[in-house]
């Protein structure tokens, strides 16, 4: 991976960052800032907190960069570190990283209960701002699993390890999160159709 603005590869930037070169730190930051910040933003749904978390993730990364030996991809290392920073923050705030609704809700999301009218089908592209808002409305536990799997592309076994739940629980929560999102998005379309 090369930062086109700096004209150096990621590997070169890592080596130079180990020597304390500011430009190298900056190159690494610019290579990964969007993914790190977006991950934080999706998971906490608050831009100010997301900035603080992204800052903390990069600081942790840069403090430990001298220990990076390249056995794993640098981006994987950074993204796992970011997830850990966010999860730690959620735990500190007492928010569940795995939804408690799993045990409290009985069949709460039967798919055809909500807004099943033909004209409200989610056809074509979904407006990204609406999808973002729908994700923001998810309970924190569902949101964590959905963001890690569907947005960030982590596998269920990786999520289970990071979050501290079973693979089955991760799969189940992902499915429920998608069903909830479908409901929210249909509701938003219905509201928009009423007003517009």
């Amino acid at each position: 991976m090369t930062d086109p603005k700096q004209g150096i590869t990621e590997a070169e930037a890592i080596e130079q960052a180990k020597q304390g070169h500011e430009a190298a730190f900056e190159a690494l930051y610019h290579l990964h800032k969007r993914r790190v910040y977006s991950l934080c933003l999706r998971m906490v749904s608050n831009p100010v907190q997301a900035e603080d978390l992204a800052q903390e993730a990069f600081l942790q990364l840069f403090r430990k960069i001298s220990t990076f030996r390249g056995e794993s991809a640098f981006s994987t290392w950074l993204h796992r570190m970011t997830v850990n920073v966010v999860l730690m923050q959620l735990r500190k705030k007492g928010l569940p990283v795995v939804s408690l609704e799993e045990t409290l809700e009985a069949d709460d999301e039967a798919p055809r209960k909500e807004f099943g009218a033909k004209d409200l089908r989610l056809t074509g592209a979904i407006d990204r701002l609406q999808l973002q808002r729908a994700i923001d409305r998810l309970p924190p536990g569902y949101r964590t699993i959905f963001v890690l799997h569907d947005v960030e592309g982590f596998e269920h076994n990786e999520i289970a390890q990071m979050v501290g739940c079973s693979v089955g629980n991760s799969k189940s929560q992902l499915h429920k999160a998608r069903l909830k999102l479908r409901g929210y998005l249909k509701f938003m379309r219905a509201e928009k159709a009423k007003t517009g």
Partner: protein, 253 residues
């Protein structure tokens, strides 16, 4: 396979079919059942669209500034080697040029904040408003507004300025959301072009990103004028742009 059986196996089927007869039964039922067909296609659509949200958002320029400050404080960033003698005259000359060319950054940053405030407090009608005032009104409005020296002060100055001519502020809005670089953006790019290449590239990239965000938010707000959250998002984007100008000013002076 029945609809309830489809619902039961759906999570597995969406994340990779388990294969065998189950797959064929599932496909066969979904093909013939409009309700299940909608459910499956919509959940797949959500999953596909969600992927597009990865790496979509740009952090504010202040995030890198804070990180760099912290790294310096912790001694992880080492100060660059002193410049050799022959380059000194050039540095002095460049510094003078920065000071000469950066005076406009503070008022323009303030104008951007005023423009953003206008968007929050009014339903925007940029095309109409643009025809009512000359293009120079951004600077004219800006000159009346005190500069902010810190992000906090910049935020405090976001309140709409009483007595600001509505058409002039609207012109600032219209100018700021244009896809092509505005005169202020070109001045900004010219000022930061004197910085070291990595820093210059950072500012160029940040400006491009924040302008794209403003355009996208404005377009959405034009389609949904009553959307308060979208309005706030647009205001935030203007705030980011103002902050970018302010940070550049701090850096150059």
């Amino acid at each position: 396979m029945t609809c309830s059986e489809v619902e039961r196996v759906l999570p597995e089927m969406l994340d990779g079919a388990p294969g065998g007869g189950l797959n064929a039964d599932f496909e066969s039922h979904v093909r013939g059942c409009p309700g299940c067909s909608d459910l499956v296609s919509e959940l797949k659509l959500i999953s596909i669209e969600a992927r597009q949200l990865a790496a979509r958002d740009e952090p504010a320029p202040r995030v890198w500034v804070r990180i760099a400050t912290e790294l310096r404080a912790e001694g992880l960033i080492r100060e660059p080697e002193p410049q050799s003698a022959p380059t000194r005259p050039m540095l002095v000359s460049t510094f003078s040029r920065w000071r000469w060319s950066a005076w406009w950054l503070a008022p323009v940053a303030a104008a951007l904040l005023a423009a953003g405030s206008y968007v929050v407090s009014h339903t925007p009608a940029p095309q109409v408003a643009k025809q009512q005032a000359p293009a120079t009104s951004v600077t004219a409005t800006a000159a009346e507004t005190p500069s902010a020296s810190t992000p906090t002060q910049a935020r405090q100055q976001m309140a709409p300025k009483s007595g600001t001519p509505r058409d002039m502020t609207a012109t600032a809005v219209a100018t700021a959301v244009e896809a092509a670089p505005s005169a202020e953006d070109q001045q900004f790019l010219s000022a930061v072009s004197t910085l070291v290449p990595s820093m210059r590239a950072t500012y160029e990239s940040e400006l491009q990103a924040v302008n794209a965000d403003i355009r996208e938010s404005q377009a959405y707000l034009d389609r949904n004028p009553g959307d308060g959250e979208a309005r706030q998002h647009l205001m935030d984007a203007y705030q980011q742009k103002a902050l970018l100008y302010q940070i550049a000013l701090d850096r150059i002076q």
